[in-house]
């Protein structure tokens, strides 16, 4: 039983997509990020992804790179991640962590899982860890009852999708387009096809990320996916308008995911 199963049971019952919002911990400061994330939860994010600022974010576009830089320059330390997750959880929000692999490896995979679980985190999204290399994490997540959210991509073969979903719990993260993170005007036609291909291999919920920034796009994605994942647009709003900005965007997106019935209801 995955930690996120109750969430998706509820959104399916309500016949809507789930809204997942991303922000890096420590951006613009440690306290500031906790406040922003709580604002996102209040305004309608069903789940937040707390990002770990990292020196070499090869999957990220300029917006998230700049936010990570800001956080690291402001003195973000890995221990601050756990206090940020705790701040979300204690305010009644649900949080998973999204991180490149090396900070977890360096911290110690089991220790990281233990401390994340203790902080109230529900799972981990690992953009540069594939299940093939994930034996330590699979063991640690089982030991500490955390969800493992691996990624599938438009370039994934059927064989790799099958292998990836078999190792996943909570939900499967489908990267909608080939490319780095960043808001796009169009979500891309490859997303729907990828979701369909992934569904053939799993009953797990499927979230679609990379590019969404508006309520209309959220509605479009929610028509074929179980969750809409929004990152760069939240970072931009936080940069420009602070808590009010992320709250307004979360409210718009929350309305969007309710406009269109989820494919599995």
């Amino acid at each position: 039983m995955g930690r996120l199963d109750p969430l998706f049971a509820r959104t399916r019952e309500e016949g809507r997509g789930a809204l997942i919002g991303y922000l890096p911990a420590g951006f613009p400061t440690v306290d500031g990020s906790a406040e922003l994330l709580r604002g996102m939860v209040d305004a309608g994010c069903d789940l937040v992804e707390v990002g770990v600022p990292y020196s070499d974010p090869v999957m990220d576009g300029p917006v998230i790179q700049a936010a990570a830089d800001t956080a690291l320059r402001a003195g973000f330390r890995l221990r601050d991640l756990f206090t940020t997750v705790e701040a979300v959880a204690s305010a009644g929000g649900r949080a998973v962590v999204m991180t490149y692999w090396n900070p977890v490896f360096r911290y110690g995979v089991d220790a990281f899982a233990r401390d994340l679980a203790a902080a109230g985190g529900l799972g981990l999204i690992t953009p540069d860890l594939i299940p093939d290399e994930g034996a330590d994490w699979i063991a640690a997540s089982a030991a500490h009852d955390l969800d493992r959210i691996f990624l599938v991509a438009p370039s994934s073969s059927e064989e790799r999708i099958a292998l990836t979903v078999a190792a996943s719990s909570g939900f499967v993260y489908a990267t909608a387009v080939m490319g780095v993170t960043g808001a796009r005007d169009q979500v891309g036609t490859s997303a729907e096809g990828l979701v369909a291909r992934t569904r053939a291999h799993t009953a797990l919920p499927i979230g679609v990320g990379l590019g969404v920034r508006s309520g209309a796009q959220a509605a479009e994605v929610a028509s074929f996916a179980d969750a809409v994942i929004v990152g760069s647009a939240f970072v931009t709003k936080a940069t420009e308008h602070g808590v009010e900005g992320v709250r307004a965007l979360a409210a718009e997106l929350a309305e969007g995911v309710r406009k269109s019935p989820s494919t599995i209801g």
Binding site: P103, S155, S156, S157, R160, M178, G179, V180
Partner: protein, 415 residues
């Protein structure tokens, strides 16, 4: 000559062997694929194509022909007796990769990967470069084979290697200065990976060192093995024996892994990698990844790297742009842990001393990268004494470094 033999009669460097990683690219605990799923398809495609090509006599013959008729192989083995007087009187031999077309060992790997790019039906090549040697070699191979070429180069490096930027442009490549992070080689690789994940259907990432996700480390090594295989035969021919030690500089480690593999099954031959000690290890400004780093993942592989206690990559420093890298190829990590190879460092000052010494004693201007290996050889020679035999990989020529050298030695002030 059979397809399994080179002109020196040695085994085919592309043949599978006992030093290959496991099928998922692991050298012991190192290597593998710590890469986004979006790129795994491309790595699988590359692995499949390389595995076919390395057994295809047509491919190996074409690669051998290009190395001979285009790159100018075999490169010479030159004894350096006047330099050796400063190395404890040991006999010192230089493997002259500086004499290859484009001026360094980089051309070996580039020709191999460019051939693979054609076989995969891709038309666009991207590459990263530090000192510019790999960028120039890639631009050269793309010009030769009619491929589109984009080179990512840290902004700091475009300034200290302006001549190589001009060479790449002349060869028809687009050079993109990278302004993120430390604006050096590490960030150029990040930016190239971002391009690759966006354009992977049409684009091959022609990685310049024996690092990255599988199959890059083993493939790049095999394309450079020719260095070690030639050197071993030449050394035997000139001296009737094998060297006591082989010295090579290590940034990402491609020239070192290439020459080491000629001797890896000769237990009496010490394999010595020389990392950049920068301003001195104690200052923290260095690039001695194997000597002073710890295991972690960067750019697709598990290997030693320079990182802080949170796993953030820390910035490397070296006077040499080509060694200024906080990671290292995973096979070197394995060779370090198993003890088959040993890794030391040479500071900027030691390397620049060796740079000038080789220029003045032998009339050969080495790359500053290779000067680290020469600095290592000066010490190894002292340790071995007059009975010692040393092989040094002179991985590149120093023309590109003249601005750095002129500033270092104060030549501009004298004129």
């Amino acid at each position: 000559m059979s397809a399994q033999e080179t002109s020196t009669g040695a085994p085919d460097p592309n043949a599978a062997g006992p030093h290959d990683p496991d099928e998922r690219g692991h050298f012991g605990p190192y290597g593998g694929r710590f890469m986004p799923e979006a790129l795994i398809g491309a790595l699988d495609e590359l692995s499949a194509e390389y595995d076919k090509a390395r057994l295809d006599p047509e491919f190996t013959a074409e690669f051998a022909r290009l190395l001979r008729d285009y790159a100018g192989r075999p490169s010479l083995l030159t004894e350096a007796p006047r330099f050796a007087e400063h190395a404890g009187g040991a006999r010192v031999f230089l493997k002259r990769e500086d004499l290859n077309h484009t001026g360094s060992h980089k051309i070996n790997n580039v020709l191999g990967q460019a051939l693979l790019t054609k076989r995969m039906g891709k038309q666009r090549v991207i590459a990263e470069t530090g000192a510019g040697q790999h960028g120039v070699a890639t631009a050269t191979a793309c010009a030769l084979m009619g491929l589109d070429c984009v080179v990512y180069m840290g902004e700091v490096d475009t300034e200290r290697q302006a001549l190589n930027v001009a060479r790449m442009k002349l060869l028809g490549a687009e050079v993109i200065p990278v302004k993120s992070g430390s604006r050096t080689l590490k960030d150029a690789i990040n930016e190239a990976l971002r391009d690759w994940v966006t354009n992977v259907d049409t684009t091959h990432y022609l990685l310049g060192t024996a690092a990255g996700g599988h199959p890059f480390p083993v493939m790049v090594r095999n394309f450079h093995k020719v260095i070690g295989m030639e050197a071993r035969a030449q050394f035997l021919d000139q001296t009737g024996r094998l060297p006591d030690a082989v010295a090579a500089c290590v940034g990402g480690g491609s020239n070192a892994i290439g020459i080491f593999h000629g001797f890896i099954d000769d237990p009496g031959v010490r394999l010595v990698g020389i990392e950049p000690g920068g301003k001195g290890i104690e200052t923290g400004e260095h690039g001695a990844t194997l000597g002073h780093g710890s295991p972690g993942t960067l750019h697709g592989a598990m290997s030693y790297l320079l990182q802080d206690e949170d796993g953030q990559t820390t910035e490397a420093y070296s006077i040499s742009a080509g060694l200024d890298y906080p990671g290292v190829g995973p096979e070197h990590s394995w060779l370090k842990d198993t003890g088959r190879a040993e890794y030391r460092s040479a500071t900027d000052d030691e390397a620049m001393h060796a740079f000038r010494l080789l220029s003045r004693t032998e009339g050969i201007i080495p790359a500053i990268e290779s000067s680290h290996a020469l600095a290592g050889a000066l010490k190894l020679g002292q340790e071995l004494g007059p009975d010692g035999y040393l092989l040094v990989n002179l991985s590149g020529r120093g023309d590109k470094d003249m601005d750095t050298a002129a500033k270092y030695f104060g030549f501009y002030e004298e004129s």
